[in-house]
Amino acid sequence: MFAEFHETIADIPAAVRKHRDRLGRPVVGVLPAYFPLELIHAAGGYPVRLWGAGAPIARAEAYLQPYCCSVARSALELEMSGRAELIQAYAFTSLCDTLINLRELFRRLFTKPVLGLSMPVTPSAEGRREFLCAELANLLQALAGITGRRPSPESLRESARRFGRVRALERELYRHRREHPGNIANADFYAVLKAGFFLPVEEYERLLDGLLHRLEAVAAPRVRRPRVVLSGMVFEPLNAQGLFDAVGADVVDDDLASGWRSVSKDPLPVEDLAAGIDAYLFGGAPCVCIHHPGRDRHDYLVKKVRDAAADGVVFWYVKFCEPDAFDRPQLLARLEREGIAATVVEVDVSTSGIEALRTRIQAFCEMIGGLEA
């Protein structure tokens, strides 16, 4: 049922090359979250999302200090080591200070075009719209330089519909997991999501349709196992995705920037594109990287845990991610007040050593769910 998703992520360059050759669209590497992929698609590009390459850092050491997160370092490593040859251009959002400077570094080091979408911070919707209008004018022009054309109103509508539907299908998958814990192995679930970073949207939509159809037939009741909500930026490295399966626990929901925080976004409204991007960026689940005083993450996370009947939260902390680190102590205190168990694991998406992680996750799951040691 999950073979095609696993095949995609087992050899990402092969999958991307195959689809690029078939579609004839230039591949745009997106770093990493909340860039409206619809814009790239509507302009004739093929967006792929880069959340860490799972390979050791060697060449990137020359330009990125050890205190930069592994998502940034592995993106640079990928390009410097020649393994990003399929990527013809990059698109950055201003998620954090490291990524803003990484965008500048890419512009100085490489000749590939680099797009940027700066996300506004002001609480005034009018101010944000005005800012985004100016951003968009530059962005669409730069995009046309890569793909050869600007998005038309029709192509924007079609891309918004297509990506909106894919996110709705992904939400169905989340719903299924929440309602039937254990029906989908954790490694399979995140393989599905990760395949979506790299497959063309049309192909991914087809695969998701098929998967959800087949999942309807699978609803075997399972023994109740410890239930976990994951919170963080991204559930990487890849070989860690099976850890919860290995210790006999179910991830029942997540609060990941690469997961639910992206999946929860409504279709991009395209009639007034600047207002639409504003709604897109500030809509959906709250994120550590998007300042939104009206939508506090604390209530949101508590509700998520309750709704999923989870036993605890695992903070999947990509080391040196400042936005994530700032929020955590107060969030942990709130969870404690609510009687919700939580733990923090520190990860580096560019390393494959996961034994220490396994020990930690096992201990936590034993604690929350009465797993036998």
Partner: protein
């Protein structure tokens, strides 16, 4: 180095400022980031308080470690900005030279220096249950704003002239002097006391320049410092550089408060637009192409023999990509440059031996270059 006579009045000015901030019951206190337009607050009788300035004072007074440890014990990771950790610590322990900062009634935060300040102030906003990016329910008087902007222009204009006196050979005023005398321009710009203070300092530094008095005796090397100071190393750096006849003649960081006079739009009637233009015109808020042009221009105008870049673990907007900037700047100017790994506020991640070895090698490179 001969201490400037203006040091004493500056200390008195800052002491008065902190006493007033801690004792004034009739005026609201707002916490504000160093790059935010404070003129609005002074025009509305608010006392602006700068956790960044206070954190730097704590580190310069060798009090930051205990405060950061308190923040870390409360769960804040060592991965986050050391200013923020020092601030969280002063709040927990009521520590530092002023015995902690007065509680804020609101927060003003501007991302022209970094996005990290938003996360920092979100934490403070949750703790104190105070609004971030506030609209004040106080009378707003356009004339008072104009007056505050005028005072701000006067102060930053003088500050700029003082920094430009660093072009004199020998330099009468080093970046280490600038880092000491920077406190009023950060915290009090928009007030008469601040503008008056920089008149005083300017007079003294101009006189030094006129008489050819160098801050570093027998100056041989003239160097640019990029990034924030290493606050807990001010004294030892002073000695280190003096012994090697090396004057830090220019600094990107000190110039961050010298831009207000530059904005041509200041002459226009719309005070808000002109302020916005000047506050956006910051080194740290610019792309790498502009940064390289700016650095190269400083190296030429200040007749520098090299440059030091502080790869500052606490300040990613300044530091990420720095190794590339160094490469390009060396190529462009033909001058030696060095990157040192350190932190603005956290001595625990500072390796004395490593930094000194790099600086020694850099000075040797300048010697052979000359």
């Amino acid at each position: 180095m001969t201490r400037l006579a203006a040091f004493k009045p500056m200390k008195e000015l800052m002491t008065r400022y902190y006493i007033e901030a801690k004792t004034a019951a009739d005026r609201p206190v707002g916490w504000i980031t160093s790059g935010a337009p404070v003129e609005f607050l002074y025009a509305m009788d608010v006392i602006p308080v700068y956790p960044e300035n206070y954190a730097a004072m704590c580190a310069a007074g060798h009090q930051s470690v205990a405060l950061m440890e308190a923040a870390e014990a409360a769960g804040f990771s060592q991965d986050i900005c050391a200013y923020a950790r020092t601030d969280f610590g002063q709040d927990l322990l009521r520590g530092g030279p002023a015995g902690g900062l007065p509680a804020p009634q609101f927060l003003v935060c501007s991302t022209n220096i970094c996005r990290t300040v938003v996360k920092w102030y979100e934490v403070v906003a949750r703790k104190y249950r105070v609004p971030l990016f506030v609209v004040l329910k106080r009378p707003f008087d356009r004339d008072r704003l104009q007056a505050a902007i005028e005072l701000s222009r006067r102060a930053s204009g003088r500050w700029k002239q003082i920094l430009e006196l660093g072009r004199s050979v020998p330099t009468p005023f080093t970046s280490l002097d600038a880092f000491i005398h920077i406190a009023p321009i950060v915290t009090l710009r928009g007030t008469a006391a601040c503008a008056d203070y920089y008149e005083l300092l300017h007079a003294e530094v101009s006189e030094r320049a006129r008489c050819g008095i160098g801050a570093v005796p027998d100056e041989r090397y003239r160097v640019l410092w990029d990034n924030l100071p290493i606050w807990f190393k001010m004294r030892s750096f002073e000695k280190f550089f003096e012994e090697r006849r090396c004057a830090l003649a220019a600094a990107t960081y000190a110039s961050s408060w010298a831009g207000i006079e530059d904005a041509a739009e200041l002459a226009t009637a719309d005070a808000r637009a002109s302020l916005a233009a000047s506050y956006l015109n910051l080194y740290i808020n610019s792309g790498f192409a502009q940064r390289i042009r700016y650095l190269a221009r400083m190296i030429a105008e200040f007749r520098l023999t090299g440059f030091i870049m502080h790869s500052n673990r606490s300040c990613k907007p300044y530091s990420v990509g720095m190794y590339r900037l160094k490469e390009e700047l060396c190529r462009l100017t033909g001058k030696p440059g060095v990157v040192i790994e350190a932190d603005q506020n956290d001595p625990r991640v500072f390796s004395e031996d490593q930094v000194e070895a790099r600086l020694e090698a850099f000075i040797e490179a300048m010697a052979s270059h000359a």
